[in-house]
């Protein structure tokens, strides 16, 4: 396993699956995403069960500001596209381009987080605090879990960028990049449902 000595040109064209470790990592990660599906599914179920119980707080249809959420959705979608570009760069062994796309991805992720925090602040202001009602608790838990995933993704990809600089693109680092990209898409997919189930359906009533 002398991965470090590989010149970039000698990397196999899909370096992420070149080693047993790499293949294990990707498979294991997919299984983990299966578990995450159920995790978010449960949070969604809890939210669906409780979403009409607003007590004294505002109702979803009064609360949500769709345009801002729509903007956040667009940002996250775009970041998913940039992360897929990073993987393409990985496959053609263009280290610089890959790092570039990854940086764009985490910047977009940060924008998304910023918007979300701003949004939460507004809601709290309007009397929709974490402890207001069952609706509010389940709302913040679901959306907050997603936000925490985004934040974790940003940190993780950031760390990977640093590793790429230090260690180069190798059969050890490639699976990590690939897996983080899948993670990022997964978060995006979850958001599609949050946007639909929490915000759009909330607005409809």
């Amino acid at each position: 396993m002398s991965a470090h000595d590989h010149a970039e040109g000698q990397l196999p064209h899909q370096p992420e699956t070149a080693t047993m470790e790499g293949r294990n990592k990707i498979l294991g990660f997919w299984i983990f995403l299966g578990a995450e599906t159920v995790l978010f599914g449960t949070l969604f179920s809890a939210f669906l069960a409780l979403r009409h119980n607003v007590m004294d707080g505002p109702h979803a249809s009064e609360l949500f500001e769709l345009p801002m959420v729509f903007a956040a959705t667009m940002i996250l979608l775009t970041s998913s596209l940039t992360s897929v570009f990073a993987v393409q760069a990985l496959h053609s062994h263009k280290k610089q381009a890959m790092v570039g796309w990854l940086i764009v991805t985490i910047l977009l992720g940060l924008c998304f987080l910023g918007l979300e925090i701003y949004e939460f602040k507004n809601y709290v202001h309007e009397g929709h605090g974490f402890t207001t009602s069952a609706f509010s608790s389940s709302f913040y838990t679901l959306v907050g879990f997603h936000g925490a995933h985004v934040a974790f993704g940003v940190l993780w990809i950031g760390l990977l960028i640093a590793q790429i600089y230090k260690k180069g693109l190798t059969v050890v680092t490639a699976p990590k990049i690939y897996v983080s990209a899948i993670y990022w898409h997964f978060i995006d997919v979850v958001w599609v449902f949050i946007f639909t189930v929490v915000y759009l359906m909330g607005k409809v009533g």
């Binding site: 196999p12 064209h13 899909q14 699956t17 070149a18 293949r23 498979l27 997919w30 299984i31 995403l33 299966g34 578990a35 995450e36 599906t37 159920v38 978010f40 599914g41 449960t42 969604f44 179920s45 809890a46 669906l48 069960a49 769709l66 729509f70 959705t73 667009m74 979608l77 775009t78 998913s80 596209l81 992360s83 897929v84 570009f85 393409q88 496959h91 053609s92 899948i182 898409h185 997964f186 995006d188 997919v189 599609v192 449902f193 946007f195 639909t196 189930v197 759009l200 359906m201 607005k203 409809v204 009533g205």
Partner: protein
């Protein structure tokens, strides 16, 4: 497990030259689906059940698009990922039914 990483040179070439085109198409499709859903709600005139169907339908379509293209699930060697996700989805569906029907009966 036979792994297909030892692809022929030809395949490798095809892969390497594969441009960003299909991903941009997927992106545009995702955008369109989001906007349709958004518009259905913003319009606010359609009846509620119908709106629900539209927006949930758009979300499901979009997930297919993203999983297939961006998460490479349409590529070879993704049998177990597909099983993993589908099993998860199956359980989620039972739970959502539970949450919508049986928590408040």
């Amino acid at each position: 497990m036979s792994s297909n990483h030892s692809a022929t040179g030809e395949e490798a070439k095809r892969h390497r030259t594969e441009g960003p085109k299909k991903h941009i198409v997927a992106f545009v499709m995702s955008l369109a689906l989001t906007i349709i859903a958004f518009a259905a709600v913003a319009a606010g005139e359609i009846n509620t059940t119908f709106t629900y169907i539209i927006i949930v339908g758009m979300a499901i379509l979009q997930v297919f698009v993203q999983m297939a293209f961006w998460m490479h699930m349409k590529d070879r060697g993704h049998v177990f990922p597909i099983i993993a996700i589908l099993t998860g989805v199956f359980i989620v569906i039972t739970m959502v039914i539970m949450a919508t029907y049986w928590v408040w009966w």
